[in-house]
Amino acid sequence: MVKQPRGLTILNYVTLGLMVLATAMVFLYAPEEAVMGQVQRVFYFHVSSAWVGMLGFIVAAVTSVIFLRTGDHKWDLVSLGAIEIGMIFSFITIVSGSIWARPIWNAWWTWDPRLTTATIMELIYAAYLMLRQGVDDPERKARFGSVYAIIGVISVPLTFFSIRFLRTIHPVVFGGADPNATGNFDMTPKMLQTFMFSLLTFSVLFADLLWHRIRLGKLADRVETLKLKISQ
């Protein structure tokens, strides 16, 4: 078993430390929000998760382009890892967003542009994984994944804008809630600091998880190669 590189071990500790600190800030340092109450605290990690979800997608798209141009398989490993992690955090975003919405707007779902786009992104992620699963040849699997990642990423901003424009001219009315509700609130300095720190923490978390996932991918490749060698 290959031992963890020292850099990764250090990163693990840094990530853990940051997470503990960020959590402490969220629960102890940031003040309670006047209008929404305690549930507003979900916002810090909810938006940070959304950020990681997007980051995963962007990283995957960039490494996909690099893979297509260079043919170096390592880049595809990064793409796959980034997509997987992005998918997990997009899921966290959607569910935590829904839970946050419930007491505020009296509805589990709001069809607002951000939440809707996040869901569509999640579906694109899932489609990416299904596409890869449907191809047996590893080289083609990587190529197809890369192509779809590129197409998917480019579509997301367009999707977001189209839905946002849709909502500005047709505000959503549901229950007894304010049709123009966007979940905005005024952030005091302490809230802003907590928020920025959460973003930073989650970015580091992404890097840490991605490194681990890439190592896992390399290990999987070694096993596959060995399987093929032995079966010959």
């Binding site: 929404m36 109450g37 966290i92 007491p103 060995l226």
Partner: protein
């Protein structure tokens, strides 16, 4: 908007939110660990097989 003296009690929702956030992250971490362990086991088994084949 009513001017409330006390913010509404939305504690349970916050709790639910954080259970999801940490819960899903934990599940993913555990899945990474399990997959790593399984692959390492596979690797050991395969390397043993390879050695046996070489001896044959």
């Amino acid at each position: 908007m009513l001017a409330l003296d006390v913010p509404p009690d939305t504690f349970s929702y916050m709790l639910a939110g954080y259970i999801v956030i940490f819960g899903v992250m934990a599940i993913y971490l555990i899945s990474l660990v399990i997959r790593h362990r399984n692959l390492n086991q596979d690797l050991e088994t395969l390397e043993e097989l390879e050695d046996k084949e070489k001896k044959v």
